[in-house]
Symmetry: C2
Subunit: 148 residues, 2 copies
DNA sequence: CAGGATCCAGTAGGATACTG
DNA sequence: CAGTATCCTACTGGATCCTG
């Protein structure tokens, strides 16, 4: 482990990114994707249908703008559009315009987007499945400290 | 898949949380953990040492406040403290004060924290390992649209 | 339907100074 | 060392209005 191996140098183009470093592009990328709207948009596009029981099938389906807006409750059109634009720019989703009247726009995960979605989906599921435990911890903490 | 199974109903207490719903506590939890500082603190506590080659060993080690501050470049003491407090409150890390002089404070992942860390670590690694590809996509996007 | 453009309040978060 | 407290700015993000 002392000297760099050939394979390590070959992967150098990737390994040079270190999110721990403030100036590193990967830090900014981490910042971008560490976003609830990103997580929810990716989850929606992954085919994670309405609860209950709708475990992500792994079969991503294209969704229209209004579908996404409806699925992700509470999102403003500004945030939804902004999130979709940035995801499109980064190559995580594709945007397809069908010249019907009125126009139809569908979004779909790319392979790259799918690779991230699998990770982010886990985070979303974690939040849902550990909420109760976290709440218990919070109660304990709040009781131990202030607000007794 | 049409009818709910017994196991599905048994997990009902968890399934009732749906991060797609604006008011749901799990949405707020998702919001909390979808944070770059959370990702970086968890990664640091997971034993993800300085690059290169320091793939997360899975052996979480306790770290002192100043160690974390040094490891996570660019973090302000305010953000670091704030992040650590919220993680402690949620039961993801433990805070241990050793009454030396000056005082020594160490942070360590709990089991719950470890379970989230494994997911978040994947996201951090994803950011680092796909940065180049994303950058290429951005260049293409920017070229196709404005700034030709 | 699918946004673009604007305005504006709220807050995240950096800088700095002080403490047990 | 490991914070707390305060100030202050800049950006986030919601609300609203408008367009192809």
């Amino acid at each position: 482990m002392a000297t760099t191996t050939a394979s390590q140098r070959r992967a150098g183009a990737k390994a040079e990114y270190d999110a721990f470093l403030a100036g590193c592009p990967s830090r900014q990328l981490l910042e971008r994707i560490s976003d609830k709207w990103v997580a929810l948009v990716l989850a929606a596009l992954s085919g994670d249908g309405p609860h209950p029981g709708a475990v992500c099938t792994g079969e991503p389906r294209p969704m229209r703008y209004s579908d996404l807006a409806r699925r992700i409750s509470g999102v403003s059109q500004k945030m939804l559009t902004q999130t979709l634009r940035s995801l499109e720019r980064d190559g995580l989703v594709t945007r397809t315009v069908t010249p019907t009247v009125p126009v139809t726009v569908t979004y779909e995960l790319t392979d790259l987007g799918r690779s991230l979605q699998e990770l982010m989906y886990g985070v979303k599921v974690w939040a849902e499945s550990h909420m109760a435990e976290v709440q218990t911890n919070r109660d304990g903490y709040d009781h131990a400290h202030g607000t007794p």
